[in-house]
C-alpha cells in the first residue's frame, strides 16, 4: 500500500488511543484528588508534565490549577495531545485514508467527532465531566469495534493496529507515572490507608480492576498492581500484552525484520522490571517509565524508516 496511507492509518490508531487514554488519565487524576485529604491535592502540574506538554502549557497559562489543566488536556487546540486535538488529527488521518476503509467507519467517526466537539466546547462542570469523558472512552471503543468487525485484515488494518497498540503502551506507562507523581512519602504513616485506594483508582481507570482481582488473590498493593500492569500477558492494556500484539502485528507487514528487532529492548525492560522496588520508590518508577518511553520512540523510528514516506 501507499506509504502515506500506511502512515495515516498508523497515526489514526495512535490518535484514537491517545484521546481515549487522555480521558482515562484525567479521570484517574480527578478521582485521586477526591480521595486525598485536602492538603495533598496539589498535583495538577504533574498531569501536564506526564503528557509532555510543559512548554506549551507555560506559554498559555499562569497556574496549573484544576480549570486550566482541564482546558489544556481536554479542549485546547493549541495543545497537540489534548483530546480535542487528538480527535481532530484522527479525523484528518481517517479522511485522507478513507477510500481504503469501510464506508461506515467514516460515518461513525464523523458523528462521534461532531458530538464530542460540541460537548467539549459547551463547557464542563465537574459533575458532567465524568460522563463526557466516559462517553469519549466508549466512543473510541465503539469505533475500534466497528473496524474490527468490518475491515479486511489487510496491511492498512495492521498499521492501524500497530499504532493503536504502541500508543497504548505509551499511555499505560504514563498513567502509571501519574501514580508515581502522587506517591506519598513513606514517613507519613497516617496516610497508608490511602495507598491502596490510589492504586485501585489506577486499575479502575484502565478498566482493570476486575481482571486484577481474578489474577491476584491478595489485596491491592503497589508491587502487585505494577506487576499486573507491566507484565500480565492477558490484560489487554498491560504493557506486556500490548507489546505481544505489536510483535504479532509487525510480523504481518512486509519486510519486517529490522522493526521486529527494534522491539527487543522494550521486551527486555518489561521482563526485567523490578516491580517490588519500583512500587516503593517514586523516582525509580519515574525513570523506569522514561526508559520505556525512550524504547518506544526508538521503535517508532524503526517503523517510520521501514515503511513511511521519505518525502516528509
Amino acid at each position: 500500500m501507499l506509504s502515506r496511507i500506511a502512515e495515516n492509518l498508523y497515526w489514526l490508531g495512535r490518535y484514537i488511543e491517545r484521546a481515549e487514554n487522555t480521558a482515562r488519565l484525567f479521570n484517574v487524576q480527578a478521582n485521586l484528588m477526591l480521595d486525598l485529604p485536602k492538603p495533598y491535592r496539589f498535583a495538577w502540574q504533574s498531569l501536564v508534565d506526564i503528557t509532555g506538554g510543559n512548554e506549551v502549557f507555560g506559554e498559555h497559562y499562569d497556574e496549573a490549577n484544576a480549570i486550566n489543566v482541564q482546558t489544556f488536556l481536554l479542549t485546547d487546540m493549541k495543545h497537540a495531545s489534548s483530546i480535542a486535538s487528538s480527535l481532530h488529527s484522527a479525523r484528518e488521518n481517517l479522511r485522507a485514508s478513507r477510500d481504503g476503509m469501510p464506508k461506515e467507519a467514516w460515518e461513525e467517526f464523523n458523528e462521534f467527532h461532531q458530538m464530542t466537539t460540541k460537548r467539549l466546547t459547551a463547557g464542563m462542570p465537574s459533575r458532567t465531566r465524568f460522563n463526557v469523558l466516559n462517553d469519549i472512552i466508549t466512543g473510541c471503543q465503539q469505533f475500534l469495534g466497528l473496524i474490527a468487525g468490518t475491515m479486511d485484515r489487510n496491511e492498512g488494518y495492521y498499521f492501524l493496529r500497530l499504532g493503536r497498540n504502541m500508543e497504548r503502551v505509551d499511555m499505560t506507562a504514563r498513567i502509571i507515572d501519574v501514580r508515581s507523581a502522587n506517591l506519598l512519602k513513606k514517613t507519613e504513616e497516617d496516610l497508608t490507608p490511602y495507598d491502596s485506594i490510589q492504586w485501585m483508582s489506577v486499575l479502575k481507570s484502565l478498566s482493570g480492576y476486575q481482571s486484577y482481582r481474578s489474577h491476584t488473590r491478595g489485596p491491592v498493593v503497589g508491587r502487585e498492581v505494577l506487576r499486573f500492569l507491566v507484565q500480565n500477558p492477558e490484560f489487554p492494556r498491560s504493557i506486556q500484552q500490548c507489546v505481544d500484539v505489536v510483535e504479532v502485528t509487525l510480523s504481518k507487514l512486509p519486510n519486517h525484520k529490522t522493526t521486529l528487532e527494534a522491539v527487543t529492548p522494550l521486551r527486555e525492560l518489561i521482563d526485567t522490571a523490578p516491580v517490588r522496588t519500583l512500587a516503593d520508590d517514586s523516582d525509580r518508577l519515574h525513570s523506569f517509565i522514561d526508559e520505556v518511553e525512550q524504547a518506544l520512540i526508538n521503535l517508532h523510528s524503526a517503523v517510520a524508516n521501514s515503511w513511511f514516506s521519505v518525502n516528509h
Binding site: S3, W106, W307, S309
Partner: protein
C-alpha cells in the same frame, strides 16, 4: 385534477411538461406517477433521498477559512427525462465534437496546419493562457490529448440543445451522476418498472478500459492523482479510484527517478506507474516545468511523460481547446478536420477580436452574455439583461482593452424541470446537463449525464457551491415512438458504429449480463 394543470412553464421550455400542461411523451410515466402521489408522499420521498445521501456519505467539500466542510450533496427527486431518439443525435454530435477537438489539439502541438491554413487565427492560440509550448512535438498514445471531457449542454426556449462549453481540463461531476441513479433506485424503485432507463453504471469500467488502453502493457498500473482531501472534488477522486480498483495517490506519493520513470512510494518499496488519471491542473502538475511553487505535483512528471514512460489523461496542454475563443471557432474546426457540419449546435458566438463583431457586441452589450475566454466555473461572466449600467460600462472597457479575451453570446432562456420547492410544491427550475465523453480507441458518451438545477426560483446558477442541486437524468426508450434506433435497443447492444449487436429487453438485463456483453 392533475397538479400539472397548475404548473406554469412561464414561457420557458420545460423538459417534462409542454405549455398545455400535458406531459411530453417520454415523461408520461414519470409525470403520471408523480401526480398519483400526495404532497406529503412526495415530500417523504425527498426526505428519504436526502437521508440516503447522508448515509451513503455522498458529499462535496466547501472550503472556507482553511477548513473543509463536507456538505451533503443537494439532490432533487424529480428526474429529468430525455427521449432516446433525441439523445442518440446529441451523442453523435458529441462524438463528432471530441474527435475534431482531439485532432485539433494534436495539430496545434505538431504542424499547426489549421493555423497555417488561416482557419483559426494563430494569435488566438499562441497567446492563449492554456497553450503550452512545452508540449510542442510530443507524440501521445493514440494521438488523443483530451481523454475525458465534460461538455455543458443547455436547451434554449425553442427546444434546441446547445453545447455551451467543453471542459477539457479536469471536469468533475461524473460520480454524482452515478450516485444520483443509485439514490433514485432506492427511493423510486417502482418508476424503473414502467420505464426503460438506459443504465449509467458502466462508466468506471469504460474509464478504466480507456486509461489502460493508453499503455501497451496488458495489466498496466493505473493511478488517480488527486490534489488531496481538501479539494472540493476529493469525494469523486476517491470514488472513481475505488470503482476502478486504481490507486488513489497524491503528488507526494510519487517520484520520478533518473530513468525518467514514475514510481509510487509503497510499504514494499517503489512501484512503477504506467497511466495517471490526473485531477490536478496543468499549472500544478510538475514544478520542474510549470509552477515552481507547486507542492501538489510530481517533479519530473512531464519529463517522464515526454519520454513516453507514463501516460497522462488528460494530456498537459489539452486545455488549449477549452478556451471560449476557440469554442467560437468550433464549427470551422469540425468542418476542417472532418468535413462535416456540427451535429449538435454551438451557441452563436461573437468574437471580439474581429473588429466588426466587436462593434456589434459593444452596441448590444445589454442583451448579450459576455464571457472571458479562458476562465471556467462561471468566473467573470456578465449577463447583459441582468447587469447594472455601471457593470456594463466596466465590461465594455475590459473588452476594448483586450478584445481577444472575450466572446459574447445571445442570452439563452434555459429550459426547466419540475423541482420540489421549499413548500414541497413542484415548480419549474432551470437546468443544464453535463454528459461525459471518453476518447481512446473509440469515443464513448455517458447515457445522459449530470443534470444540475438552480434550486432558487428564476436563478440560472447551477453550481453546487452556490445553491445549485442536481437530478437524475433519464434517457428513456419508448417502444411506441420509434426514433432513429429500433425499439428495445439500449447502448449496451449497440457497438461503436451504431450497429445493433443484440436486441434484448433492456430492463431485464442483470449487471453480470451487461458485463459479459461488454467483454464479447
Amino acid at each position: 385534477m392533475s397538479r400539472w394543470n397548475n404548473y406554469d412553464t412561464e414561457n420557458f421550455f420545460d423538459e417534462l411538461i409542454n405549455p398545455e400542461g400535458k406531459p411530453r411523451w417520454a415523461s408520461e410515466n414519470v409525470a403520471r406517477y408523480l401526480d398519483s402521489l400526495s404532497k406529503e408522499e412526495l415530500a417523504e420521498r425527498q426526505q428519504a433521498a436526502e437521508l440516503a445521501i447522508h448515509v451513503m456519505g455522498i458529499s462535496f467539500t466547501v472550503y472556507t477559512n482553511n477548513t473543509g466542510i463536507d456538505r451533503d450533496w443537494p439532490f432533487d427527486v424529480v428526474p429529468r427525462v430525455i427521449p432516446e431518439s433525441e439523445w442518440r443525435n446529441i451523442e453523435r454530435g458529441l462524438k463528432q465534437r471530441m474527435t475534431a477537438l482531439n485532432m485539433f489539439i494534436n495539430d496545434i502541438y505538431h504542424d499547426q496546419q489549421i493555423l497555417k491554413d488561416g482557419i483559426v487565427p494563430s494569435e488566438l492560440i499562441l497567446k492563449s493562457r492554456d497553450y503550452r509550448p512545452e508540449c510542442r512535438g510530443v507524440d501521445v498514445p493514440l494521438n488523443i490529448w483530451a481523454h475525458i471531457c465534460g461538455s455543458d449542454l443547455v436547451r434554449d426556449g425553442d427546444g434546441t440543445m446547445y453545447v455551451l462549453e467543453d471542459n477539457l481540463r479536469v471536469p468533475s461531476g461524473v460520480s454524482y451522476m452515478m450516485e444520483n441513479r443509485e439514490i433514485m433506485r432506492r427511493t423510486f424503485p417502482e418508476l424503473f418498472d414502467s420505464n426503460d432507463v438506459l443504465p449509467v453504471d458502466e462508466y468506471p469500467t469504460k474509464l478504466f478500459a480507456m486509461l489502460a488502453s493508453l499503455s501497451e502493457k496488458t495489466e498496466p498500473k493505473v493511478v488517480v492523482l488527486t490534489p488531496g482531501i481538501y479539494n472540493s472534488a476529493y469525494f469523486e477522486h476517491a470514488y472513481l479510484a475505488q470503482q476502478m480498483g486504481a490507486t488513489l495517490a497524491e503528488g507526494r506519493d510519487m517520484v520520478v527517478q533518473d530513468d525518467d520513470c514514475v514510481y509510487l512510494q509503497t510499504t514494499e518499496g517503489l512501484q512503477l506507474v504506467d497511466v495517471i488519471y490526473r485531477r490536478i491542473d496543468d499549472a500544478f502538475l510538475d514544478p520542474e516545468v510549470f509552477r515552481k511553487d507547486s507542492t501538489l505535483g510530481v517533479p519530473g512528471l512531464v519529463r517522464a511523460w515526454k519520454a513516453g514512460n507514463v501516460a497522462l489523461a488528460n494530456a498537459p496542454g489539452a486545455g488549449v481547446a477549452d478556451d471560449k475563443a476557440v469554442y467560437a471557432y468550433l464549427p470551422e474546426i469540425i468542418k476542417y478536420y472532418l468535413d462535416e457540419e456540427p451535429q449538435v449546435a454551438n451557441v452563436p458566438s461573437y468574437r471580439c477580436d474581429q473588429p466588426e463583431q466587436l462593434k456589434y457586441v459593444l452596441e448590444h452589450i445589454h442583451e448579450l452574455v459576455i464571457k472571458p475566454a479562458n476562465e471556467s466555473g462561471g468566473y467573470g461572466i456578465v449577463v447583459g439583461p441582468h447587469a447594472s449600467k455601471k457593470e456594463l460600462r466596466e465590461a465594455a472597457t475590459l473588452i476594448q482593452e483586450n478584445p481577444r479575451n472575450f466572446i459574447a453570446q445571445p442570452t439563452l432562456a434555459l429550459s426547466t424541470v419540475p423541482t420540489l420547492d421549499d413548500n414541497d410544491e413542484l415548480a419549474p427550475r432551470h437546468v443544464d446537463l453535463r454528459p461525459f465523453i471518453l476518447s481512446g480507441k473509440d469515443v464513448y458518451v455517458t447515457a445522459g449525464g449530470l443534470t444540475r438545477v438552480a434550486l432558487t426560483e428564476g436563478s440560472l446558477i447551477v453550481n453546487s457551491s452556490q445553491g445549485g442541486g442536481s437530478k437524475d437524468t433519464w434517457i428513456v426508450a419508448d417502444r411506441d415512438n420509434p426514433g432513429p434506433t429500433e425499439t428495445g435497443v439500449t447502448q449496451d447492444n449497440i457497438n461503436d458504429d451504431g450497429i445493433v449487436v443484440a436486441a434484448t429487453q433492456p430492463h431485464l438485463l442483470s449487471q453480470d449480463q451487461n458485463q459479459s456483453q461488454e467483454q464479447s
